[in-house]
């Protein structure tokens, strides 16, 4: 156990030393890994922020405002509301009477004065319909048409339907990002494999001599595994820094936009879980890449 720990400490030191021996080559490898990992990580950050941004609108997303013809009686409006409530495609139907609407308008600054000039209430009955959340975006339009055919109905307005469609798109983009991440993870494994293969070839003599004095394959392989894992780790950290830098560079325009939309929204970097996934994943991929080539290439080198 002590020998084992000693060997691992030795291997880590050897891996660090060999990274520092060729700093430029190491930096290039780490740079390539960093950029490769930054791509899916950055995409994830963008999607994460978009879905958080639009998440706030989901409540209202897809709500349907049904304006009844003016002159419709309260009784007719309530009868229609009762009927719509039994419809499985709707989760909630709310009745806003002309009186309620007028009161709400009056409470808003600037409206009160102008409304006083009116002697009758010009506002129609309004039914606010919330469709079932499971209803896909494309069915909303059908629902709207169905509601418009009701005799008492004057006009049907779909609120923020585009948000639902956007969220469908975001989900699709999320899947695309996952696929891209898998592909690029494979890329990282190949990059590290190639780097480690070259490192093994460069150190043929050292490997042969070490075998000659009784070094086991595991002993000889260990520094290469640490080297791969270390480059993966540093690549993962670089990818994280790249997403932070990109976010920082974009923070000006994002702030401008959110101010324009009077939103509380502020863009965020990688959440902790994803950060761990990025850095840990990079380390694991590096180790895997090194493992895949070193086992095969090391056993091919024998002392003569």
């Amino acid at each position: 156990m002590i020998v084992w720990a000693r060997h691992h400490r030795q291997a880590l030191a050897a891996a660090v030393a060999s990274l520092l021996r060729a700093p430029l080559a190491s930096l290039m490898t780490i740079g390539v890994i960093g950029i490769t990992l930054a791509l899916p990580a950055g995409l994830h950050v963008v999607l994460d922020n978009l879905s958080r941004l639009t998440g706030g609108w989901t409540q209202e997303a897809g709500e349907i405002s049904v304006f009844l013809k003016s002159g419709t009686s309260t009784a007719t409006a309530e009868k229609l509301m009762e009927r719509l409530r039994r419809d499985p495609e709707m989760t909630r139907v709310q009745h806003v009477t002309p009186e309620q609407a007028l009161r709400e308008f009056r409470s808003r600054p600037g409206f009160g004065e102008s409304l006083k000039a009116l002697d009758t209430n010009p506002l129609p009955h309004l039914l606010v319909v919330r469709p079932a959340p499971s209803l896909p975006a494309e069915r909303l339009e059908q629902l709207r048409q169905r509601l418009a055919k009701e005799t008492a109905v004057d006009q049907v307005v779909l609120d923020l339907a585009w948000v639902r469609r956007l969220q469908n798109w975001l989900e699709l983009a999320g899947r695309f990002a996952a696929m891209l991440a898998a592909l690029l993870a494979l890329g990282v494994v190949l990059i590290i494999s190639n780097t480690i293969r070259l490192a093994v070839a460069n150190r043929r003599d050292e490997i042969a001599v070490t075998k000659l004095v009784g070094g086991t394959n595991a002993y000889i392989r260990r520094p290469f595994l640490y080297g791969g894992a270390l480059q993966g780790l540093l690549g993962g950290l670089l990818a994280w820094l790249l997403t932070l830098a990109a976010l920082w560079a974009l923070s000006g325009p994002i702030g401008e936009l959110t101010r324009l939309y009077q939103s509380e929204f502020s863009a965020q970097g990688l959440p902790v879980r994803e950060w761990l996934l990025l850095v840990g994943g990079g380390t694991l991929l590096g180790w895997l890449g090194a493992f895949l080539v070193s086992s095969r290439h090391l056993s091919a080198i024998e002392p003569t």
Binding site: I2, V3, W4, R6, H7, Q10, D205, E206, A208, V209, T210, K211, L212, V213, G214, G215, T216, N217, Y219, E302, P303, T304
Partner: protein
Amino acid sequence: MLQLTHVGKRYPSGYEALKAVSFTLDDGEMAFLTGHSGAGKSTLLRLLALIERPTRGQLIVGGRNLERFPARRIPHYRRELGVVFQDNRLLFDRTVFDNVALPLQVTGTPLAEIPKRVRAALDKVGLLEKERLSPIVLSGGEQQRVGIARAIVHRPSILLADEPTGNLDPDLSLEILELFLDFHAHGTTVLIATHDMNLIKVAKQRVLQLDHGELMLDTGRRE
């Protein structure tokens, strides 16, 4: 004990490097393996270090049967040997100290103990003050002595040397011989392959002479 019984080595090309060689070397014994180049000296040492396997016969070292020795145990077997090569096989990107420390590192020797033992080995070959240098700046004789220090640093019970003085002038060769005689005096089994007759004459040890892969002469044990 080193025991060879009808050991033969035939390469895939059909070339027969060794033909039915038999001899026994007791623990702590010293012998020279001699013969013209291509007689099979190096091949015999390679079989003993398990760099190659015999195609015929039986090879027993310290009670272990080498022709059926499992490959994954080879590193552990090699830790009981010290091997010196004509081309010394030093690593030129490491210091003298690190070259000599290698056999200790692979066995997981405690870090505190490594400097002590490396310096003891370097002291023995007279290179204590050169431990921080790269072997590349050393002379041929010094490089060979670094190779010997690496071969003995882990106190092996068997020391094998393949033309250890091949590149050295006679005076240096005798210095190296003194080292081997000293290890022998301390109980190490020593087998040296050489065609340096002067060395053999001075050493007054057992001689095994190979000729075209066959053992032609065995002077027997000398005391």
